[in-house]
């Protein structure tokens, strides 16, 4: 792997809600190389957005540290630190102020960080818009005049305004049509090649991960449950949760269907129970063993493909464990 740009060591975050505690992150390790795209996948409540907030400095970690380009980032970020990380959020309809013009939206980070002289700002905004495939004259329009895809391009241009090295993409295509999603994916890929950007890509949709990321980290209830190269995880998912995620991708051809793991949807009834001890996925897992309740499984396996599951699936064992289930 290339030299790590971002390193997260044992990051934990506990929220206090009234008198109860919510452990959103329970010790997460992560390393993102320069120019790499790492995808963090998980459902709502898996802690992926909390992790992004820690990286962006919106939340302070309860424990652990975050290192960017060799320097540990403190709870209070300096302006120079904040310039290094850009953010693209999920819903471009709510992240752009409808009362402000496109130029004002992109101009704000330019003025806050003194990126360029005021006289040059208009030209610079035009350049950023061209970079994301929009017409420079669009900066005088309001978001209302723009389509969802165009708004997301504006959001990307705004994130690029400070020349960051790392972009945190929080579900950048989830609220878009599939046809528009394809455009945005292409743009992100082109920008990465052109500017040498590093992406931390947060999503619940694995189908997009396949085309954009090189490495994938699967999270469940504040823990990393599987980690590996995208090709390895997609061809041989080990953790049962990863299998369920893969099995729920909407596919459009029989060829894709064959790559999806089998998953017995009827086995899962009510998934709201929270496991206090043991594997967090246990209440929903049709493959759970008595041992799964004893302790939280730790990440194990070859270095390029780790998983935290006591009864893992795999290309070879998948069939037999399903038969085992049917026999019970």
């Amino acid at each position: 792997m290339s030299e790590p740009l971002l390193q997260i060591r044992e990051a934990a975050k506990t929220f206090h809600v009234g008198s109860s505690e919510v452990k959103a992150l329970k010790g997460v390790n992560l390393s993102v190389g320069k120019g790499e795209t790492v995808a963090i996948v998980g459902e709502s409540g898996s802690g992926k957005t909390t992790l992004a907030n820690l990286i962006l400095g919106i939340e302070k970690p309860s424990a652990g540290e975050i290192v960017l380009a060799g320097r540990p980032l403190s709870g209070r970020r300096s302006k120079a630190d904040r310039r290094q990380i850009g953010l693209v959020q999920q819903n471009p309809y709510s992240t752009l102020n409808p009362r402000k013009s496109i130029g004002q939206a992109i101009g704000l980070p330019l003025s806050v960080h003194n990126v360029c002289r005021r006289s040059e700002r208009r030209r610079r905004i035009g350049e950023l818009l061209e970079k994301v495939g929009l017409h420079p004259e669009l900066q005088d329009r309001r978001p209302l005049a723009l389509s969802g895809g165009q708004r997301q391009r504006v959001a990307i241009a705004r994130a690029l305004a400070t020349d960051p090295e790392l972009l945190v993409l929080d579900e950048p295509t989830s609220s878009l049509d599939v046809s528009v999603q394809a455009h945005i994916l292409r743009l992100l890929k082109d920008l990465q090649e052109e500017l040498g950007l590093t992406y931390l890509f947060i999503t619940h949709d694995l189908s997009v991960v396949r085309v954009l990321a090189s490495r994938v980290i699967v999270m469940y209830r504040g823990l990393v449950v599987e980690e590996g190269a995208v090709a390895d995880v997609f061809s041989g998912p080990r953790h049962r949760y990863t299998q369920q995620l893969l099995a729920s991708i909407p596919t459009v051809s029989a060829e894709d269907d064959r790559l999806k793991p089998d998953w017995s949807w009827e086995a899962d009834v009510d998934s709201t129970e929270v496991a206090e001890e043991g594997c967090p996925f246990r209440p929903r897992c049709p493959f759970a063993l008595p041992a799964c309740a004893a302790g939280t499984p730790v990440l194990a396996g070859p270095k390029h493909h780790l998983h935290a599951c006591l009864n893992p699936g795999g290309a070879a064992t998948r069939k037999s464990s399903l038969e085992l289930l049917a026999g019970q």
Partner: protein, 321 residues
């Protein structure tokens, strides 16, 4: 199969300050009794408006409709608003995209569900309503209905809220359920579970479903038939297997190509251009400006070519080159 819903040449125009906007330009669509039909298209293709016309949920003013819309033997476009209101929530029900937004956060699920049931039958006793609610929630695989009924929508997960919505929508045993992008706001695993529950119940109750989505992949495992919509018209309609095995219309093919594949790490192919401006459409093929196969003949009105249940509105099917 008998036709439950039959739409013929449905046209709808909104009068706006910038002039008339033709949102539906001749929609032909049928849904058989108990059939599951998917209506697929990009934002702005008119799929949600079609659903609202069927429900009778469009404002009376500034909207012009023409064509024929028959539901279960009655003419929906010509009847009184009172008839439409009586049918809504009884014979036709609807599930919306975001279950969190569809449920009221200041009432418990019990209060809202009971309101749905009392509207259906005013003489229903509390005990009857209670047992009806519990059965309905068990039918959508909710293991502890009691806890869910006592909760407010914000205390439940998105998946549970969606199940509650399905239970409410099916409580009247409607003939038709319209599902407008159900589960797009949810996690993929939850979305799959929701679709499974909906499919099983539609079979058990004999409810027909009109499923609206922008993603062809989502409807593939669910629908019996798929109708692809573009700029206010159905451009291709076929049994699900036939459509995915052999998509004929260039737009359907482009839409399929834009879905990321599991089997390849290549970027999906985007459709160039954008959805056409509905104020300035002519009678010709609306996909023409974005189509790589377009010919001068495409500017003339395009008839629907039909063969063995597979309909395609493309000039290349009518006169193969």
């Amino acid at each position: 199969m008998e036709d439950l819903l039959r739409i013929e040449d449905l046209r709808l125009t909104f009068e706006t300050h910038d002039g008339p906007v033709s949102v539906l330009r001749g929609v032909d669509l049928t849904v058989g009794t108990g059939e599951r039909v998917a209506l697929v298209g990009e934002s702005g293709s008119g799929k949600s408006v079609t659903a609202r016309v069927i429900m009778g949920l469009l404002p009376q003013r500034r909207v012009r409709t023409s064509g024929n819309l028959q539901f279960d033997g009655s003419d929906v476009l010509k009847e009184s608003p009172a008839r439409a209101k009586a049918r809504r929530g009884r014979d036709i029900t609807m599930i919306f995209q975001d279950p969190m937004a569809a449920l009221n956060p200041v009432f418990t699920i019990r209060q809202q569900f009971a309101a749905v049931l009392t509207r259906l039958d005013r003489r229903l006793s509390t005990a009857e309503a209670e047992s009806c609610m519990r059965t309905a929630l068990r039918d959508v695989s909710i293991a502890d209905p009691e806890r869910v009924l006592d909760s407010y929508s914000f205390q439940l997960s998105g998946g549970l809220n969606q199940r509650v919505m399905i239970a409410m929508a099916l409580a009247s045993r409607p003939k038709l359920l319209i599902a407008d992008e159900p589960g797009t706001a949810l996690d993929v695993t939850v979305q799959q579970q929701t679709l499974n529950i909906m499919a099983n119940l539609s079979q058990a109750y004999g409810t027909a479903i009109l499923f609206i989505s922008h993603n062809l992949g989502v409807v593939r495992k669910f629908a019996d038939r798929v109708c692809v919509m573009y700029a206010g018209r159905i451009v291709e309609s076929a049994p699900t297997d036939a459509l995915f095995a052999n998509p004929r219309h260039p737009y359907t093919r482009a839409l399929l190509a834009s879905v990321p594949r599991l089997s390849s790490d290549r970027l999906p192919e985007a459709i160039e251009g954008s959805v056409p401006d509905l104020t300035a459409l002519t009678e010709g093929c609306a996909f023409r400006p974005r189509c790589q196969f377009s010919r001068p003949e495409c500017e003339a009105p395009v008839p629907m070519w039909r063969h063995a249940g597979h309909g395609v509105a493309c000039i290349h099917e009518v006169n193969p080159a």
